[in-house]
Symmetry: C2
Amino acid sequence: MGLKEIGEFGFIRRVSQGCLVRPDGVVKGIGDDAAAFRAAENQITLLTTDLLVERVHFIRDRISGFDLGYKSLAVNLSDIAAMGGTAREAFVSIAIPEGVPLDYLDQLYGGMKSLAQAFSVNILGGDTTGSRRDLVINVAVTGEVPEKEILFRHTAREGDIIFATGPLGDSRAGLHLVLHEAGPESPGFRDLVDAHLRPRPHLPEGRFLAGAGGVHAAIDISDGLSSDLGHIAEASGLGVVISAAKIPLSRHLPGFCERFGFDPVDFALSGGEDYVLVCTVDPSRARTLAEQYRALFGRPLYPIGRMTDSRRLELETRDGTIIAFTPSGWNHFQTGDLHDNHSVKS
Amino acid sequence: MGLKEIGEFGFIRRVSQGCLVRPDGVVKGIGDDAAAFRAAENQITLLTTDLLVERVHFIRDRISGFDLGYKSLAVNLSDIAAMGGTAREAFVSIAIPEGVPLDYLDQLYGGMKSLAQAFSVNILGGDTTGSRRDLVINVAVTGEVPEKEILFRHTAREGDIIFATGPLGDSRAGLHLVLHEAGPESPGFRDLVDAHLRPRPHLPEGRFLAGAGGVHAAIDISDGLSSDLGHIAEASGLGVVISAAKIPLSRHLPGFCERFGFDPVDFALSGGEDYVLVCTVDPSRARTLAEQYRALFGRPLYPIGRMTDSRRLELETRDGTIIAFTPSGWNHFQTGDLHDNHSVKS
């Protein structure tokens, strides 16, 4: 049985199963002109949206439906995390070309619902339609955050310590393995692929940072550390200096880079899609915050540098030299080879 | 100068101009991980989203950038109107293939901003990316409505009078003219094309109906009167009987239908994309409501039938015969000729 047989409404009924995981506060979900839900008092509603297009962001025969669905939602949840918010409602628009197996679509929604359930997010609506050639997915997610705790990009201050909530560069390594169909030569390689395909949105970490006090700015690493730190620096009218020796790397990345001849620091700086958070913290609060973070999450909050008044992006290399770097982020309008340059990005 | 030259962020800066038309209550618009805005007390936040795909919903060389942008937003505003809401914030995701002239994109955002400004809607964010082949636009819109006034589909009651806020069938006639490149033989034909390309969202009408009391259910006519009334009937567990003689037709539609050999009632029933509202009203309130409506808007609220307990969809023909009709709505997964079957639908 395929899409043509079950029709649009049949498909909606099919994918509606399991979408409402937190009915409290929901006035109307799927099945009306718009979804309606209660906004809490003194709470900000957040909304973020990401569009994923086949052959630009993903290659359908290289990613399972489950992973594609998971990731489509994960990149949005990560945006809510970066604002310090709690994710609430998701809206999924999808354009489906002929010939996509229904099973692939079921898996796709399965991946989304699995992640949605883990973070108590409802899928409350969206739009389904046909497509002539490419599978296209747009996910919009709302969130809420107490007004006084919201974390922006433009509010970093000179002297702030820059922290990262997890290792960087793994996703880029996983992408290489996916694109080159390199077998999981070691169990560690599987972890790198997972980092690329199923990034965990750092929502609890974002909420903690938002409520802890002393955190001035935050962003999630989607385009790459260099580019995303560039956003904070530019928006705040400041510069950054980060220390190559302090950039957190997973235990699997150095072995991978040695095997394939890559530079781990380069992957960490410009790889992107790690979906960890980077925040800037008042120096007087930095030590206590890092201790609280470790006590709460059982993992370190990694100090990687500080905000400067130079307006430059600078890297302190392992031998102590200071070199400038540029935001080598993603440009969606670049043309070129699909491989390694056009994969799942948000 | 093209997209490649200005880059993604240049493009965002470019389209950001004029997006914020009502800054009050906006905490953060374009330029962070997510947009943030204040939710009013005791107000429901509404959100709707529509995805438009080239060669499925529109043919790029048959629609101006301005009209495409206008319509992409209009179909969403109409959904907010159908819930009785006030539209608030819009989020635009767009996937752009190589070779789309920047001027076309400027016009596209121009069409959106023109409509957004008219209804005091902010464009607060979105996503921009590349596409391999087709232009794809997803618009998400939030709205708000007092909790006690929200209009659903599932709350129609037996005996309710069914009203329409405007004429039906014009959009389908305009589509025919657009697809067959029929010149505007008469000024009236231009109005039909406008009805298709620039439908006015009935937001003030929706707010009036929501606040007037006695209106039990509402929907906007996107798929077609037969299909959309079918949604109300099915959701409410009821039937409908509508009168062919009472279906409002514009003064231009009969002439068009005579010229091209179409049936106006068929166009009104199954044409779709009229984006007028249809509501069901307590019979005890119907007369007063229609009088108030006419006093306020200077146009009639058209009674077209009533809700029954039959669970059937029935049409009373001009000679008094009752015939059954089916929801002959749009099925986005149907294949077939693009012309007349795959045009701008939401």
